[in-house]
C-alpha cells in the first residue's frame, strides 16, 4: 500500500512546489507530487480545480510560475513539449482530421525507418484491437474507436509517463465501464506510469493505485482509495468519495483505547483520528448499525425514521436525531427495514468513524 507521506526515495516524476498563475487567478498552487515507475495515479476534483492545468504543466503546454518538474532525475521544467518523454491523450482526442488512422499513429514515429514505423503502427493497431482500421479517416470511426486511436497514438512513442485528460469522458456509461477495465489491464501490461485526470470518483476508485484529490489548485490529499475513503483529510474529500454524515464537535480528550472523545450536540461521541479544538466526525452511512430496541449500554442514539429508499441490495434511510440533524443510514436490505415514523436506535463502531479538523 502506498503511503500518503513517504512516496519513496526517488520517484519517476517529481513535481516540487509547482504553481501556475493566469493573471490574478492561481490555477495551481504549491503542489508536490511524486509518481513511481509503473504507477497509476488519478487526479480527482471538480472542474476548475486545476487538475487539467497540472497535466498541461507536466506535458509542457504551460510554463509553471513557480516550482520544478523532474523526470527520471532530469529537470524538464523548461523543456518544450516536443522534447519531453511524456505523452498526452487529449480529452477531445485531438486526432488529426486530415490524416488516416495509420498516419495519426505514425506521426510520433518520424525517427524510425519506414519498415519499423509500419511494424509499430500495426502493433499499436493490434494493441487497441483496431486491426484493419489503418487507412480509415478518424471521422469515419465511432466514439469508442476514436478513443482507442487516441490512446494508441499517445502510446506510440512508448512514453515514460502517459498523461490522460478525462480519457473516458466522451464515452457512454456502458462503454466507459468496459473501457476502464481495458485501460487498467493495458497499463499493467505495459508498465507505463499513467496520470489520469477525472472528475468521476467512481472512475478514480476503479482505475488508480493512488488518487490525488485537488481543490482550488491544491493537492489536498493523495493516497489509495481506501485511505481516502476511510481517513479523508477534510470535508471536501469526505464528501467527494461518497455519502457521509458530518458531526461537528469539540475535542475533549483521548480514551484509553486511543480514540478521541468529542462533545457534540448529541452528547459525547468517539472517533479515530486527531484534531485540536473544533473537529468534525466523518461517519459513513454503511457503518451505522440500526436496531429497534436500545442496546442498554447508553451509547446508542435514538432517532426517528424520516424517509426510506429501497435500492435492491441496500435500504437507504434518513433518520432525525435528538438535536434535529438528519443522518443518512445505509442498511442491508435483507433485514426488515423500519417504517417511516418508527423510532430506531443508532450505533457505530467508533474506530470506523474518522475525526477531521473543522476548518477546510
Amino acid at each position: 500500500m502506498a503511503s500518503t507521506h513517504a512516496p519513496g526515495p526517488a520517484g519517476l516524476l517529481t513535481c516540487a512546489g509547482l504553481g501556475k498563475r493566469f493573471g490574478a487567478h492561481a490555477a495551481v498552487t504549491d503542489l508536490d507530487l511524486t509518481l513511481q515507475p509503473g504507477e497509476f495515479v488519478c487526479l480527482l476534483g471538480p472542474s476548475g480545480c486545476g487538475k487539467s492545468t497540472l497535466l498541461r504543466l507536466i506535458a509542457g503546454f504551460e510554463t509553471p510560475s513557480t516550482g520544478t518538474i523532474r523526470l527520471g532525475g532530469a529537470d524538464i521544467t523548461a523543456d518544450p513539449p516536443h522534447r519531453r518523454p511524456v505523452n498526452m491523450m487529449f480529452q477531445s482526442y485531438a486526432l488529426f482530421p486530415h490524416l488516416s488512422v495509420a498516419a495519426n499513429l505514425a506521426y510520433g514515429l518520424s525517427g524510425l525507418g519506414r519498415a519499423a514505423r509500419q511494424a509499430r503502427v500495426d502493433e499499436l493497431l493490434r494493441l487497441v484491437r483496431l486491426d484493419g482500421f489503418g487507412p480509415r479517416r478518424p471521422d469515419t470511426l465511432s466514439g469508442g474507436q476514436r478513443q482507442r486511436v487516441a490512446l494508441a497514438r499517445a502510446l506510440a512513442r512508448a512514453p515514460q509517463v502517459l498523461l490522460l485528460d478525462e480519457p473516458l469522458g466522451a464515452l457512454d456509461r456502458a462503454l466507459r465501464e468496459e473501457t476502464q477495465g481495458e485501460l487498467r489491464a493495458l497499463q499493467r501490461r505495459l508498465g507505463t506510469s499513467f496520470i489520469v485526470v477525472t472528475h468521476d470518483p467512481a472512475e478514480a476508485l476503479a482505475l488508480a493505485d493512488r488518487i490525488g484529490v485537488m481543490e482550488g489548485g491544491r493537492l489536498v490529499q493523495i493516497g489509495d482509495g481506501a485511505s481516502l475513503y476511510e481517513r479523508p483529510a477534510n470535508r471536501f474529500v469526505a464528501g467527494l468519495l461518497g455519502d457521509v454524515n458530518l458531526i461537528p464537535g469539540r475535542v475533549r480528550d483521548r480514551d484509553p483505547g486511543g480514540l478521541t472523545r468529542l462533545d457534540t450536540a448529541l452528547g459525547p461521541l468517539r472517533a479515530r483520528g486527531a484534531a485540536a479544538g473544533e473537529g468534525v466526525i466523518a461517519l459513513r452511512p454503511e457503518r451505522i448499525a440500526l436496531s429497534r430496541a436500545p442496546s442498554g449500554d447508553g451509547t446508542d442514539l435514538p432517532g426517528q425514521v424520516v424517509e426510506t429508499t429501497y435500492l435492491g441490495d441496500r435500504v437507504r434511510l434518513r433518520v432525525r436525531l435528538a438535536d434535529g440533524t438528519v443522518w443518512r443510514v445505509s442498511a442491508p436490505a435483507d433485514a426488515e427495514a423500519p417504517a417511516v415514523g418508527e423510532t430506531v436506535h443508532l450505533s457505530y463502531p467508533p474506530e470506523r468513524a474518522w475525526l477531521m479538523p473543522a476548518a477546510g
Binding site: A59, G60, F61, P80, P81, H82, N87, M88, F90, S92, A94, L95, F96, P97, H98, Y107, G108, S110, G111, R137, D139, T140, R153, A154, A156, R157
Partner: protein, 295 residues
C-alpha cells in the same frame, strides 16, 4: 414566399451574371461598325424567324481568331496570368504568417487587428494607388529613404515597371488573402498543434504537417479571391505599370474606349472570364475527392 426564397439567388444570377455574359458573348461574335450601337449585326425583332436567321448567320468568330493570331493579346493574357500568379504567391507567403499571428493573438486584440487590416479600405482605392505613385516615383519616399540610408546611390526606377504592379497588387489584395485564412485558423482546434508537439514535432514540422494542411480551405479561398480579380485588374497596371506592362484589363479598356471596337473588347472580356473560371473548376475538382472521403 418561402418557396420563392431558393429561386431568388437563381434569378439574381440569371439577371446579373448569365444575361450580361450572354450579351457580351453575342457582341464578341459581332463585327465592329460605325453606327449606333457600334457593331453589326443588330437583331431585327420585327422580321420574326427570318430576322433571327440572318442575325445568327452574321455572327462569326473573327474576333477570337484575332485574339489567337495577334501576339499582343497572347502576351497580355500570359502577362496577366503570370503577374496575378506571382502576386498570389507573394500574398500567400506574406498573408499566412499575418493570419497566423492574428489568430494566435490574445482574443481581445483580434477584433482590433481585423479592423487594422480593413481600415485602409475606408479610403478610395484610386487614391491609395495614387499614393503608391508618390512612394515609388524616382524622387518619391522609397528612393529618397533608401538613398538617405546610403543603400542606393541613384533613385530607383521602379515606377512604371512590372515590379510596381506587383507591389500594388500585393498591397491592394492583402486583406482578401488574410481574412479567409484568419477565419479558418481561428477555428482550428488549438489542441491539434499541441498534440503534434506532444508527439515530438518541433514548431516547423507542426506548421507544415498540421497547421497548413488544415488551413488549406482558407488558403484556397484567399488565392481565388486574389487571383480572379487580379487577372482582369485595370487600375493598378494602368497607374503603376507604365506603357511596358501589358495586362488584359488595359487591353480591354483601350479596345473599348480608344478603338471603339466593342466586339473585340467583348472577346477580350470573354477571354478573361475563361482564364479565371479555369482555376475555379480546377480547385473544385481538387476539393471534391476529399469531400467524398469524408463521407
Amino acid at each position: 414566399m418561402k418557396r420563392l426564397l431558393p429561386v431568388l439567388p437563381a434569378l439574381w444570377l440569371a439577371a446579373f451574371v448569365l444575361l450580361p455574359v450572354i450579351l457580351t458573348l453575342k457582341i464578341s461574335l459581332s463585327t465592329p461598325a460605325t453606327a449606333q450601337p457600334p457593331y453589326l449585326p443588330v437583331l431585327d425583332w420585327s422580321a420574326g424567324i427570318e430576322g433571327w436567321g440572318s442575325f445568327l448567320e452574321a455572327l462569326d468568330f473573327t474576333n477570337f481568331e484575332t485574339l489567337a493570331s495577334d501576339a499582343l493579346y497572347r502576351d497580355a493574357a500570359l502577362s496577366s496570368v503570370t503577374l496575378a500568379a506571382i502576386a498570389t504567391t507573394i500574398l500567400a507567403l506574406i498573408g499566412t504568417p499575418i493570419a497566423l499571428a492574428m489568430a494566435r493573438a490574445p482574443e481581445r486584440w483580434q477584433p482590433r487587428l481585423v479592423a487594422l487590416l480593413i481600415v485602409p479600405f475606408w479610403t478610395s482605392f484610386l487614391i491609395r494607388i495614387y499614393a503608391w505613385i508618390a512612394i515609388l516615383k524616382p524622387e518619391g519616399l522609397l528612393s529618397a529613404g533608401l538613398m538617405k540610408l546610403g543603400l542606393i546611390a541613384r533613385p530607383l526606377e521602379i515606377l512604371n515597371s512590372q515590379g510596381a504592379v506587383l507591389i500594388g497588387l500585393t498591397y491592394a489584395y492583402l486583406p482578401f488573402m488574410v481574412l479567409p485564412l484568419y477565419a479558418v485558423l481561428t477555428k482550428l482546434d488549438p489542441r491539434l498543434p499541441e498534440a503534434a508537439a506532444d508527439l515530438g514535432a518541433g514548431p516547423t514540422r507542426v506548421f507544415w504537417t498540421v497547421t497548413l494542411p488544415l488551413a488549406r480551405p482558407g488558403l484556397t479561398a484567399g488565392a481565388l479571391l486574389c487571383f480572379v480579380p487580379m487577372v482582369g485588374e485595370f487600375i493598378i497596371p494602368d497607374l503603376l505599370g507604365g506603357s511596358d506592362t501589358l495586362m488584359l484589363g488595359r487591353v480591354l479598356w483601350s479596345e473599348f474606349f480608344s478603338n471603339r471596337d466593342w466586339p473585340l473588347a467583348s472577346a477580350v472580356a470573354i477571354l478573361v472570364l475563361v482564364l479565371v473560371v479555369g482555376p475555379l473548376i480546377l480547385f473544385r475538382e481538387d476539393e471534391a475527392p476529399e469531400r467524398e472521403a469524408r463521407r
